[in-house]
């Protein structure tokens, strides 16, 4: 397989460097256009695209590239961190660069396997590159194809299915009882980081009402102001607890603060579906003995962890299938590119065929419209057949098996 030297990818990611290093090597959105322009000055570099997220900063470079130039660009990229650990900055050339980009868009190279945020980030990078004029032609098409690969992987596999965050898992679990949150009155006990995170998830799902209860009332009030909720003192929990459809406890305590004595049996039984109590605290804030009650559902961190673990296992089982899609799409992309390189030849061929047809018809003195139409059809059919052979040829020049071997070796290295 001939090595393409018209494409290279230079970067640093969560796989090769710690957060502090990645932070120093990241390129803020405002500086990306300027960085791209600086790259375009290098000899042979015609296009570039900058992708910078919290987990990776990658430069996709296109043009007439030499290995030495790419190595120099990689060294310059890493030079911003004086004591950079060896191997932190990587570079891939040609097909390896394409395989890497497609793996990234598929979410196979993400810290949270299969996460979909990366697709939006790639789209954003493509748009910024187009705006600055740095990403055009070949590179624009490649990034477009990478986005399509990401979408296909998520549509055809379970790689993006199921949340891997405990806070989202809690909301997903509550959703299995409550369904639409627009009829749900939720109470969040604790206004710390987790409390605010679940509040955000609930707000996103348009929960009907949110109440915050916290030891420090000021923090509860702050959270209530942020999410449009109300506040409740911890010692008044008894008044509201049994009326809420969803109770989430995420608070630091030494012993349970929600016990049987806080619940009103009669009010609990008024709910159509059993109210859901979810304890995200450790040590637990809701008495585990409440699990035995049939008028409510209680779940804790262990339950949520088991949901997350199932999702993770399900995603991991999809890696092979997603990899197959990446290889298939790389093969398709390369065949399309090879075929595209034939375009001038094809245009020339079409012109020659038409000229020859006209010449033969003129020599024979054919003026009958029927015969001319027949000659026209014959020429088109011959041209179509020639193009089909070219397309097949382009596809045959690349072996998918060899590409797969290359992908496997690339994945092992990543």
């Amino acid at each position: 397989m001939a090595e393409l030297l018209d494409l290279a990818l230079i970067g640093v990611s969560h796989r090769t460097a710690e957060a502090a290093t990645r932070e120093k090597l990241s390129i803020p959105p405002d500086n990306q256009a300027e960085y791209a322009q600086r790259l375009l000055v290098a000899p042979g570099v015609r296009e570039c695209c900058v992708l910078s997220t919290c987990n990776r900063t990658e430069l996709l470079v296109g043009g007439e590239l030499e290995r030495e130039l790419v190595e120099r660009l990689a060294a310059e990229f890493g030079a911003r961190v004086p004591d950079l650990p060896g191997g932190a900055v990587y570079h891939h050339l040609g097909i390896d660069a394409i395989l890497h980009l497609f793996r990234v868009s598929a979410g196979l190279d993400s810290q949270v396997l299969g996460e979909s945020q990366i697709l939006a980030q790639i789209k954003d990078a493509q748009a910024k590159g187009k705006e600055s004029g740095a990403t055009a032609g070949v590179l624009f098409g490649l990034v477009e194809h990478a986005i399509a690969v990401g979408k296909r992987v998520r549509a055809e596999t379970k790689l993006g299915e199921g949340t891997l965050s405990v806070a989202s898992a809690a909301i997903e679990l509550a959703g299995k009882v409550i369904g639409g949150f627009d009829d749900c009155d939720a109470l969040i006990v604790g206004a710390g980081e987790t409390g605010l995170l679940v509040a955000q998830h609930l707000k996103d799902r348009e929960v009907r009402s949110l109440t915050f209860s916290n030891r420090t009332m000021a923090r509860a009030e702050e959270a209530a102001a942020k999410f449009g909720g109300t506040v409740l003192a911890l010692d008044q929990l008894r008044d509201r607890l049994s009326d809420c459809h969803l109770v989430l406890a995420c608070v630091d305590v030494f012993e349970p603060i929600i016990t049987k004595s806080h619940l009103d049996k009669a009010r609990l039984r008024r709910h159509r579906e059993p109210p859901m109590f979810i304890d995200l605290s450790l040590p637990r804030a809701i008495d585990p003995a409440l699990r035995d009650r049939d008028d409510l559902l209680l779940h804790d961190l262990d339950d949520l962890e088991s949901i997350v673990a199932r999702h993770r296992a399900s995603r991991e089982s999809e890696v092979v299938q997603a990899g197959r899609i990446v290889v298939e799409e790389t093969h398709k992309y390369l065949a399309l590119r090879t075929y595209a390189s034939f375009k001038p030849v094809i245009a020339d061929l079409a012109t020659r065929f038409m000229a020859l047809r006209d010449q033969v018809l003129a020599e024979q003195g054919v003026s009958d419209p029927g015969a001319r139409k027949l000659a026209d059809q014959l020429t088109k059919r011959l041209l179509d057949e020639a193009l089909k052979q070219l397309k097949d040829g382009a596809r045959r020049t690349l072996s998918e098996e060899r590409l797969e071997r290359r992908y496997r070796s690339h994945s092992d290295r990543s």
Partner: protein, 276 residues
């Protein structure tokens, strides 16, 4: 029996089997093969085919095919599918359909395999009252069985939530609130049809259409009880004392009794009522 009826009797179970497979694929999620997308088309084809089967049989018999027990089973299967398709949008997922279509497939298979070779017209089925009475009653039975089925799923999901077994059903089934709504919707449809069927039947009997009419008939008194039970379930959304779980239990028990009473009174004797 004409060749067309025989052909349709063979074709219908085959199509329902294919539809069961296609609905089953919904449980496989994104890994489902591409042909799983033919579900909607196959459903429409199955509905049209069954309607065609009904039309051909009606032409042959000179009345709707609802007089013979196996015609009733086929009609019931078709009604279950039709009502399910009406209620399915409430679920926002076709995952529950696999079980419904499987039941319809089994019913049609039995109806096709056990149908007598000779088609015999029933003089009773020529009566318009009889037709409306039976059709309403069968549509009610189909709706009530669906109500029981959705309630069963509700209880399975609730049990999984309580036992913390987050398996395939947990992932694929609609939420408890939605299953509750589906239960109430099916119960309401059943209640309405049963109101028509029951009242018409009783009025017709009092008009002297039957001899020895009795409210103690094994079809009449259970129908009245079911009518009351499903009437309550259909409005349970407004009743504070009847939670989703209680409504589900009642529907499951009532639907099981309905199925039992249908089996006992329909299959061995081949007639609905004790009276003639």
């Amino acid at each position: 029996m004409t060749a067309a009826v025989q052909a349709l009797q063979v074709l219908l179970p085959v199509v329902y089997m294919a539809l069961t497979l296609l609905y089953g694929m919904e449980l496989a999620g994104p890994r489902a093969p591409k042909w799983a997308r033919w579900r909607r088309g196959t459903t429409a084809f199955a509905v049209l085919l069954h309607l065609g089967y009904g039309a051909v049989l009606s032409t042959e018999l000179g009345h709707l095919p609802i007089a013979h027990p196996w015609q009733v089973v086929s009609f019931l299967g078709f009604s279950i599918l039709g009502l399910y398709l009406l209620i399915e949008p409430l679920a926002k997922t076709p995952a529950t359909g696999a079980f419904v279509v499987l039941a319809v497939f089994v019913m049609q298979l039995m109806a096709s395999a056990l149908a007598p070779l000779q088609l015999v017209a029933s003089p009773l089925a020529q009566s318009r009252f009889f037709v409306v009475h039976i059709v309403s009653a069968l549509l009610a039975v189909a709706a009530l069985l669906l109500s029981g089925f959705f309630s069963g799923l509700y209880l399975v999901l609730l049990r999984q939530l309580r036992r913390r077994t987050f398996g395939v059903l947990y992932a694929k089934l609609p939420d408890l609130e939605r299953l509750s709504k589906m239960n109430r919707a099916a119960a309401a449809v059943g209640f309405l049809f049963l109101t028509v069927g029951l009242n018409l039947g009783i009025w017709w009997a009092h008009e002297g259409a039957v001899r020895n009419f009795s409210y103690l008939d094994p079809k009449v008194w259970p129908a009245i009880v079911l009518w009351l039970v499903f009437g309550v379930i259909s409005v349970s959304g407004f009743l504070r004392f009847l939670s989703g779980r209680r409504a589900a239990w009642i529907a499951v028990v009532a639907a099981s009794l309905l199925l039992l009473s249908l089996g006992v009174s329909l299959v061995p004797r081949g007639a609905f009522h004790v009276f003639r």
